[in-house]
């Protein structure tokens, strides 16, 4: 509206039209010719020269190189002005004749690519080195903890600490309204509310200017302020501000760069800036310029921090290696001890063994009689839970195994010792006749033994039979002087003897023993020998009759009257006489038919 008004107002007014006739005009022309002919000629000449001031192409061609050179030394305006044209021209050229461009840039393309690859690789190796260094160092551990504690990804923590500086955000703010025109944020950072930040930045700037009374124009305003680790750099232009949020220590060059960017924006966006009415759309185009300001500079190699951390890391690694070696050595020693024990153990054949760091595996043969291999392993200090053992059964003919097998098969008593000589098993120590007999019969069922040799063995009657025998033999039936009559106590005694004897017969026959009882009648020394022999015979007969009547088999009884021929002796003559008026008992136990007796 204003523009329209302006153009109307600015329209020139038409010149007043002459009122006189053509004649008058001619006369006036003549007069002018007379009075001003010299001046008119000079004027025409001047006009001609002025026309020539408009530069011809020829003149331009001559002056252009100088003009370009001159302007280039003054400022960068020429380059900036030409840049869009060149861009377009180059784009056009590439589109029309790509082949020619490709040929032209070929000599620089190869080295450029090589350089780019080399730099990428160097960067990668550097990153890898640092990653290894960081993950091994105490510092790395600290960062891990920090990442875990704050919930920020580890990579960002590393960047934060390795950062020299980083431009995190750049705001382009309209100076007059304090409204944001454009805003860029470094990648992987959260975008913040540009409106509020722009507003607050301006408010802070205004506040500072009001408070300190510094000039609004020029360099008097707020240039930087710090918030924690961040610094906000504010560059002021006539129509816009550029604010950069920087993390870390920025170099002075960054400020210059911001200034240059702001100048560039003023140059190219002067009109939109002046006409800004709240629509930030035209300033989208400034984003590439702002993004160029998002620099990130990380530490390269910092010698000061390099010294101690890797040393600590190496000590830790060294200690870990030594510990592993020690554990491995101990484990190996135990394993060897165990396998040696297994190899030397009768009845066990080790076929295959493999020792690993966390355990091992064993395969072999094992006689069922042999010692349990896991016992041997445990004794050697090997954890049997970590071992895979596979034992196949087999029959061993190792002497200890055969002996043990025989001992188990024959149910040998503890008192017996064995010794293997070839295929003959020699028995020593004491054993009963019945066990020896059973062992011989069982022999064929024991692999590895074909003969039993009892020549060194001490064979005996079983203990229970011997007890019964002595209990019977310690009894003696006494008689009155010159009498063979059995008094009532004697009858009871004979009944006891009969019971014991029947027990003996019964138990003995179960185990294959034969028993017999001999009754020996005696008399005291009074009377004749013949009388005494008959009397002693009668006494023995009487006892035998009673025993027989009590169930003792007749064929296992024998009576004998010996008179005074083999007297029982005593220090007291009277007692000796009483002891000899008696019938004594003698038990015989034999094994089998024709076996040895006692």
């Amino acid at each position: 509206m204003k523009d329209e008004l302006g153009t109307h107002e600015d329209l020139p007014e038409p010149p007043p039209a002459p009122a006189d006739s053509e004649q008058l005009s001619q006369a006036f022309g003549e007069l002018r010719e007379l009075l001003l002919s010299g001046e008119r000629r000079r004027l025409a000449e001047l006009e001609r020269r002025l026309d020539e001031m408009g530069i011809t192409p020829e003149e331009l061609a001559e002056r252009l190189p100088d003009a370009v050179a001159l302007r280039t030394t003054q400022d960068k305006q020429l380059a900036r002005s030409l840049a869009p044209t060149f861009r377009e021209a180059f784009g056009e050229s590439v589109q029309r004749n790509p082949q020619q461009i490709a040929h032209a840039i070929f000599p620089i393309l190869g080295p450029a690519i090589r350089k780019a690859i080399a730099e990428t690789m160097a960067g990668f190796v550097n990153t890898l080195n640092r990653a290894i260094e960081n993950s091994l160092s105490v510092r790395g551990l600290k960062w891990r903890i920090e990442a875990w504690r704050t919930g920020v990804p580890y990579a960002q923590i590393v960047i934060k600490h390795a950062l020299v500086y980083r431009v995190e955000q750049v705001y382009l703010i309209h100076r007059e309204t304090s409204l944001p025109l454009a805003h860029v944020t470094a990648e992987d950072l959260e975008t913040q509310d540009a409106d509020l930040i722009s507003g607050m930045l301006t408010a802070i700037r205004d506040f500072v200017q009001d408070s300190f009374g510094s000039s609004d124009h020029g360099d008097g305003g707020l240039r930087t302020f710090s918030v924690g680790e961040r610094t906000v750099l504010v560059e002021q232009g006539p129509k816009a501000l550029l604010a950069a949020v920087v993390n870390g220590q920025h170099p002075p060059a960054l400020v210059e760069r911001l200034q240059a960017t702001l100048e560039m924006i003023h140059l190219h966006f002067g009109i939109p800036l002046a006409d800004f009415e709240g629509d930030a759309e035209p300033f989208e185009a400034t984003k590439p310029l702002l993004e160029e300001c998002l620099e990130k500079v990380l530490t390269t190699d910092r010698p000061s921090t390099r010294g101690s951390a890797p040393r600590v890391a190496w000590v830790v690694v060294g200690a870990a290696v030594i510990l592993m070696l020690a554990l491995w050595t101990r484990s190996s020693i135990r394993w060897n001890r165990a396998t040696n024990a297994l190899e030397n153990e009768p009845g066990i054949v080790l076929i295959e063994e493999e020792h690993g760091f966390l355990g091992g595996s064993i395969r072999g043969l094992r006689d069922p009689t042999a010692t349990d291999p896991s016992l041997l392993l445990t004794e050697a200090g090997v954890d049997t839970f970590k071992i895979q053992a596979n034992w196949e059964p087999y029959l061993s003919f190792d002497e200890p195994v055969v002996v043990e097998r025989a001992r188990r098969a024959l149910l040998a008593p503890q008192t017996v010792e064995f010794e293997l000589a070839g295929d003959t098993l020699r028995v020593s120590g004491s054993a009963t006749y019945d066990w020896a007999s059973g062992a011989t019969e069982f022999l064929e069922k024991i692999p590895g033994v074909t003969h039993l040799d009892f020549s060194r063995a001490d064979l005996t009657i079983p203990a229970d039979l011997l007890t019964l025998q002595s209990r019977i033999e310690e009894r003696r039936i006494l008689f009155d002087v010159g009498s063979a009559a059995l008094v009532p106590p004697a009858m009871d005694l004979i009944a006891e003897i009969a019971t014991l004897y029947l027990d003996l017969i019964s138990i003995g026959s179960e185990k294959g023993y034969q028993v017999s009882l001999e009754l020996i009648g005696r008399t005291d020394t009074t009377g004749s020998n013949e009388t005494n022999r008959v009397l002693s015979q009668n006494r023995a007969n009487r006892v035998l009759t009673v025993l027989e009547s009590r169930g003792a088999p007749r064929n296992m009884l024998a009576e004998l009257g010996i008179g005074t021929s083999d007297p029982i002796e005593s220090d007291d003559p009277e007692e000796e006489a009483a002891l000899n008026r008696s019938v004594s008992l003698r038990v015989t136990v034999t094994y089998g038919i024709g076996g040895e007796g006692n």
Partner: protein, 165 residues
Amino acid sequence: MIQKKICMVGVFGTGKTSLVQRFVHSMFTDKYHSTVGVKIDRKQVLLDGETVNLVLWDLAGREESEEIPTSYFRGSAGIFYVIDGTRRETFDQIFAIRESVQGTIGVVPSLVALNKKDLVDEWRLGQGDYNALMDADLHAIGTSAKSGEGVENAFLWIANATVNK
């Protein structure tokens, strides 16, 4: 997207912050918070199908004698004056404040919010006052940050005025 800076102006305790709170966050609190310096908030509104981003500068209320820091007004597309209808002096002072604003940034779309409308019994303004505002070319809207009455309406009016000036 169009952005507009709006300044909230008025004597202390008239309810500038409460109006912004109600408008932006749909909240109201009875507690009085004295604003220090300036608070900036933002609200997007839809006008004739176009989104307008209102950047609300909530300026600290001033005592009668104090001068308003005029630099905050710069670049404002509109001024939102706030009067406390229960305190006459807040009405009286609005004209002086307006002069100060216009002295700094010239004439921009302006609105007067007659706030605390919910306190009917304590209302101290009458028809004569409303006429005075009209004579001064100030559009007035009754508002209550507490009940929310008129708040949305007032902000939309100023937004509309700044866009279609």
